[in-house]
């Protein structure tokens, strides 16, 4: 028996009691966005009710209270990622902005014509397009680490693909469309052996297992708050101090400056150099509350429970004739992507919606992955520790119903 009690945990998440179309909500779209515990929702109201003020410059009571709460989250994030210093934690809107920030600052100053940027074939569009834009601007080349038929990184090819022209490697930690957990530590070791820094897209990993940026030796690591029980519009970029200090600012504005005159502006130290304008203070404080929630649960047991859910769902889907799993890596986290013979993914997704079941259909912002497998898109169920085995059984039942309705009769 598993000691983890999702029944108790579920009570912390008000939205899980919703009844779409009068049916109990089954929320299997966690890879797109996680739900929020009540404490995180309350933190936003609490902030606006009792602490709202602009931070870092006000001399008054509220501003100091808000600034203290805000700064404390940076320290909590340092601990969450086991970063050496809170100065290496930059607040951004989300993982997408973090990639754009690094491409536009580190990338612009280090990548020149003829250089190379190395990514993988399973990247989210957010970790493709900013690098592609940089490469176009600079006349550099975007190179791609291939994946195998299970959706696993071809680690054997990585060493050859890191050349003397490679300026940065940017790799997803956990694939959002395949669920594959990538051997980022090994890739980082190979890259560092050639003096190349590595950016890790942690959008899908931080919600599912503990990340230690020092153990990985990642040069940059980014994730989005809303995927780890926090609010939307707030995310984190970790960068090694020496790299961040060598980078020019991203956007100009308030907070990021030391002094401004019409002749010359001097810039603030890290991390504020990268945080122009009034930040998402409420978002940061609510993200801090999400971190507190993570501390309150037994993470090892939560990981085990998610693995139990994934294994249960995998076996159930493999038992349905015509269902083909996309992404069968040995190491996976909480994502189950699949196609059904002669059943359109969108039609099946809408059918499940009529039953109150939330899944994602389509290419999941990873079109190259879909091309690799020769499919237009998949149905994706993605789990969180608050999901249950009963929900999976219900989902599988309705999937049978979808197939009965949608598969052509003469097939």
């Amino acid at each position: 028996m598993n000691a983890f009690d999702p029944g108790r945990i579920r009570a912390d998440f008000p939205i899980l009691s919703e009844r779409p179309y009068g049916k109990p909500l089954i929320y299997f779209d966690n890879a797109a966005s996680s739900q929020k515990p009540k404490s995180v929702i309350d933190a936003i109201t609490e902030y606006y009710s009792h602490s709202n003020a602009n931070i870092h410059r006000g001399v008054h009571y509220l501003s100091q209270k808000a600034s203290e709460a805000y700064d404390a989250v940076r320290v909590a994030l340092k601990d969450f990622l086991n970063a050496p210093s809170e100065d290496e934690i930059v607040f951004v809107r989300g993982t997408t902005e973090a990639v754009n920030l690094v491409a536009a600052t580190f990338g612009r100053t280090h990548v020149q014509a003829g250089d190379e940027v190395l990514i993988s074939a399973m990247e989210h569009h957010s970790n493709i397009v900013p690098w592609q834009m940089l490469c176009e601007e600079k006349g550099a080349k975007l190179r791609v680490i291939p994946i195998d038929d299970h959706g696993q990184l071809r680690l054997d090819q990585v060493d050859n693909l890191i050349t003397e022209r490679t300026r940065i490697v940017s790799l997803v930690h956990v694939s959002n469309s395949l669920g594959t957990i990538n051997p980022v530590k090994e890739v980082i070791r190979l890259a560092h052996a050639k003096g190349v820094p590595v950016f890790v897209d942690g959008a899908q990993s931080t919600a599912h297992f503990q990340v230690d940026v020092q153990d990985l030796d990642a040069d940059f690591f980014a994730f989005s708050g809303h995927k780890i029980l926090g609010p939307t519009g707030i995310g984190v970029l970790y960068g090694k101090r020496a790299l961040l200090e060598s980078m020019p600012p991203y956007q100009g504005g308030g907070e990021m400056i030391r002094s401004v005159s019409f002749e010359r502006t001097t810039y603030n130290d890290i991390p504020l150099r990268f945080e122009a304008g009034t930040p998402n203070i409420a978002g940061v404080i609510a993200l801090g509350e999400a971190l507190r929630y993570w501390e309150s649960i037994d993470r090892d047991t939560a990981v085990q429970w998610e693995n139990t859910l994934l294994a249960h769902a995998t076996v159930a889907l493999q038992g349905i004739s015509g269902v083909q799993l996309i992404g069968t890596a040995a190491e996976k986290a909480s994502v189950l992507s699949f196609v059904i013979d002669e059943v359109n993914a969108l039609d099946a997704g809408m059918y499940l919606d009529t039953k109150g079941i939330a899944v994602r259909t389509g290419h999941h912002c990873t079109e190259p992955v879909m091309h690799r497998f020769g499919i237009p898109g998949t149905i994706r169920a993605s789990f969180m520790f608050y999901n249950t085995l009963e929900e999976i059984d219900e989902f599988v039942n309705h999937l049978h119903g979808a197939i009965r309705l949608l598969r052509p009769l003469n097939a």
Partner: protein, 136 residues
């Protein structure tokens, strides 16, 4: 044309739930006449739809007849509804059609913006055919 729109609105009024509406649209999609696979090319493909949609039209005796297909049965059902109203009409009738039934039957509320855009793209393409023939 209003009479046919009203007929569709009345049909949908019989369904209380989204589940029933969905099933009905799927049935319509399954009954949509088979599309000549030769026309399933990029030339006939409508851009802006999450699913692949192909649309062709013929013009004779002052009327336009539409032929369409999709890889999604639900989208085929939506096409069937549009064709009920627009196919076999004069170019001017098609151009003037307001298609208020789409909102009345509550179809848009179940669509993400990207899908509603797909429906708009289909209507736009049908009207583009009509515009091309309205000068005739």
């Amino acid at each position: 044309m209003e009479a046919i729109e009203q007929e569709i609105i009345d049909d949908f009024a019989l369904f209380d739930t989204w589940e029933d509406k969905y099933q009905y649209i799927i049935e319509l999609g399954q009954k949509l006449p088979v599309f000549n696979p030769e026309f399933k090319t990029d030339d006939y493909r409508i851009k802006g739809c999450q699913s692949s949609v192909w649309l062709d039209a013929s013009y004779s005796d002052g009327r336009i007849v539409f032929y369409a297909d999709s890889d999604s049965t639900f989208v085929k059902g939506e096409i069937a509804l549009l064709m009920k109203v627009l196919s076999g009409r004069t170019p001017q009738e098609i151009l003037d059609a307001k298609l208020e039934f789409i909102d009345s039957i509550g179809l848009r509320q179940h669509m993400a913006v990207t899908r509603a855009n797909g429906l708009n793209a289909m209507v736009k393409q049908m009207k583009a055919y009509a515009l091309a023939h309205s000068a005739n």
